[in-house]
């Protein structure tokens, strides 16, 4: 067993950190207050290859492994969650789903420009009336000649207004004996006629990111844009979450790290009762917990990443990593605010932003209640992974680079 990161991994970490610290950190407080995404963020992430980091070269990507993807998420979220959300939906839900389920034609046509960052992707599953219970989603796709006609609305979609393409799951067979068997997934060009979309405002967190809605009114989508087969939409969507959750887990780990760093710095300089508050046992206990959670969360996501590299099914491990890391990041951010006293309650310090941002990750990509159900079902042996028609491809250095 080897717990070491390679030299390549360290360099990836450093490069992504440099980008986030130099180009995003200086203005993040302002962007968060404005409630807007910095328009430079996506073009810069595209230019640096971050938007295609873990996609083979031949599909327009950078050919790095899944561990690199996790490390990049960690570094991005240590600066702001909105950066990592980009990776979750563009790289995770969109690119990796195409890599796993897409046909060769779909990969060449859609994955290449996405991985190159020329196009931006998002994943549109949630609806006003269905979030956790995706099998009962109501957007429909009706076949009409060589097209499917989409009608309905998707809600809470990250990058809804920034994206060019969306991976969209809809109901194509309302008569299927089980609701989830009636779903199919499409790659939809968001510039098609019949699509309207907008951003949601007044969010608790990820304010420097875009979260919105997409409405479909008689949108014609070519049948060849179906990802997977008709009726496979639920499986494709769950695969998308295996990718997306991994990035959320790694990112949340970065948030724990950031909360810990901020707390260390503050506690070492703040004095109360004649001593540094970092010398007080109650404060030490909080720092200790953050440090422990950081290590645990990191091990969990790195293990999931290692399994992804090997092409092993990792639904259980990825879900555990997401659950643990996001709960711990909320705790860590909350304690970081506590350690900062009243200053932590103000956006002059970053920790209140960490706290607001951490909450979202307990809800999206499968709420943590859903993750705990998944873990229980695995533990109780009520859930077993069935082989998929198309498994997530392992990292193969030769063919990826």
């Amino acid at each position: 067993m080897d717990f070491g990161l390679s030299e390549e991994h360290h360099m990836v970490q450093r490069m992504v950190r440099d980008f986030a610290v130099k180009e995003v950190a200086p203005t993040i407080q302002e962007q968060d207050r404005l409630g807007e995404m910095d328009p430079q963020v996506l073009p810069r992430m595209a230019e640096l290859g971050i938007l295609g980091i873990t996609i083979p070269l031949k599909y327009g990507g950078q050919g790095m492994d899944y561990i690199s993807l996790g490390l990049a998420c960690e570094e991005l979220e240590a600066v702001d969650t909105s950066l990592r959300v980009v990776i979750s939906v563009h790289n995770g839900l969109t690119c990796l789903t195409l890599l796993q389920w897409g046909t060769e034609e779909q990969k060449n046509k859609f994955l290449v420009p996405l991985a190159q960052g020329e196009k931006i992707g998002c994943g549109a599953f949630t609806e006003p009336g269905a979030g956790s219970d995706l099998s009962h989603l109501q957007t429909t796709g009706k076949i009409d000649g060589s097209c499917y006609i989409l009608n309905g609305e998707k809600m809470w979609i990250s990058l809804a207004t920034a994206a060019d393409y969306a991976v969209v799951t809809v109901r194509t067979n309302p008569k299927a004996s089980k609701a989830y068997q009636g779903l199919s997934t499409f790659l939809v060009d968001l510039h098609s006629p019949g699509i309207s979309r907008g951003d949601l405002h007044g969010k608790l967190g990820v304010r420097a990111g875009s979260t919105g809605w997409i409405a479909f009114q008689d949108v014609r989508v070519p049948a060849e844009n179906m990802i997977g087969k008709e009726g496979e939409g639920f499986k494709v969507t769950m695969s998308a979450f295996d990718s997306g959750r991994y990035t959320v887990a790694a990112g949340a780990t970065g948030l724990i790290g950031a909360a810990l760093d901020a707390s260390k710095t503050y506690a070492d300089q703040r004095k109360a009762f004649g001593e540094k508050i970092s010398d007080l046992q109650l404060i030490k206990a909080k720092i200790a917990r953050m440090s422990l959670d950081y290590q645990a969360a990191r091990l969990l996501y790195l293990k999931a990443g290692w399994m992804k590299n090997k092409g092993l099914r990792n639904t259980r491990e990825t879900s555990a990593a997401k659950w643990y890391a996001t709960e711990a990041s909320f705790q860590a951010a909350s304690e970081a605010v506590q350690i900062h006293g009243a200053y932590g309650y103000s956006d002059e310090y970053p920790v209140e932003r960490y706290l607001r941002n951490a909450k979202g990750a307990m809800i999206y990509e499968g709420s943590n209640e859903i993750q705990s159900l998944i873990q229980a079902d695995y533990a109780l042996e009520r859930r077993q992974d069935k082989k998929l028609r198309k498994e997530s491809p392992p990292y193969d250095h030769e063919s990826w680079t």
Partner: protein, 259 residues
């Protein structure tokens, strides 16, 4: 055009430095490429892209310390050379310049040697000048811009930026140039570059390879001390009106000999 860019390894600028018993330590903080050198690498890569040619990163350091070289390679340098020899431990700039000059001579047919303006750890800024002197090449320090580079005619024009203003300098090639941060932001390593760098192999030369004796240092650091911590006293000035407060403040500042 054959360009050498000298890169040094330094403790991370974010690391906390400890001074104890005259020794400096920085815990387990990672080593990084000297941030000033990144500007030199950037300049080297741009010149090579404009003029055609190749960039070699040259580093003097311990054999296991490869961060600086790897970073330069990941940014896009074509090749690298590490000079490492136990006899070089504790070298001053005179000794280091002899070694670097010997390495540059051994590489051969070099048109231009670039340095960062100084290193963040020892902060002397002397090496570029000393190397130029040994090579008997012109030394152009604090360069912010390359106006014209014509290797065919063996000449270059640069802008030196100093506090007092800018100076345009014309010089012959080969030359040694130190680059300031006004040159422009260095690029990040690309993922492709990172992969290439992590697999790159480069020669490690000892003093024997360079055919020189261990150069002796003229200076050493018998002692290193931290500056004495200043006692800071905070005083809030009282007064009924802003004018009164200002008057008291000015009086205090005069008494403290600040004004």
């Amino acid at each position: 055009m054959k360009i050498i860019v000298c890169v040094k390894q330094v403790p991370d600028t974010a690391a906390t430095m400890e001074v104890e018993n005259g020794n400096i330590s920085w815990g387990d903080a990672p080593l990084i490429i000297n941030p000033w050198d990144e500007f030199a690498v950037e300049a080297a890569l741009n010149l090579a892209a404009d003029q055609g040619g190749e960039v070699t990163a040259l580093c003097l350091g311990k054999e296991e310390e490869t961060e600086a070289i790897k970073h330069a390679l990941a940014m896009g340098a074509d090749a690298a050379v590490l000079v490492s020899d136990p006899a070089l431990k504790g070298s001053d700039t005179v000794a280091a310049s002899k070694v670097l000059a010997a390495a540059i001579t051994k590489i051969g047919e070099v048109d231009l040697v670039l340095f960062g303006q100084q290193s963040v750890d020892t902060d002397t800024g002397l090496l570029p000048v000393q190397v130029a002197r040994l090579l008997k090449w012109p030394s152009l320090t604090l360069v912010s811009k390359f106006k014209e580079v014509t290797p065919a005619e063996g000449s270059l024009q640069v802008i030196r930026s100093m506090e007092e203003g800018n100076q345009v300098i014309k010089s012959r090639l080969p030359a040694v140039v130190s680059v300031t941060k006004d040159y422009g932001e260095p690029r990040y390593p690309s993922f492709m570059g990172i992969r290439k760098a992590s697999k790159a192999e480069y020669p490690v030369w000892t003093l024997t390879d360079l055919g020189i004796d261990p150069p002796s240092s003229s200076i050493s650091w018998p002692e290193v001390n931290k500056p004495v911590e200043k006692e800071i006293v905070t005083e809030i000035i009282d007064g009924d009106t802003p004018e009164e407060k200002a008057k008291t403040l000015v009086e205090k500042l005069i008494a403290e000999k600040v004004l």
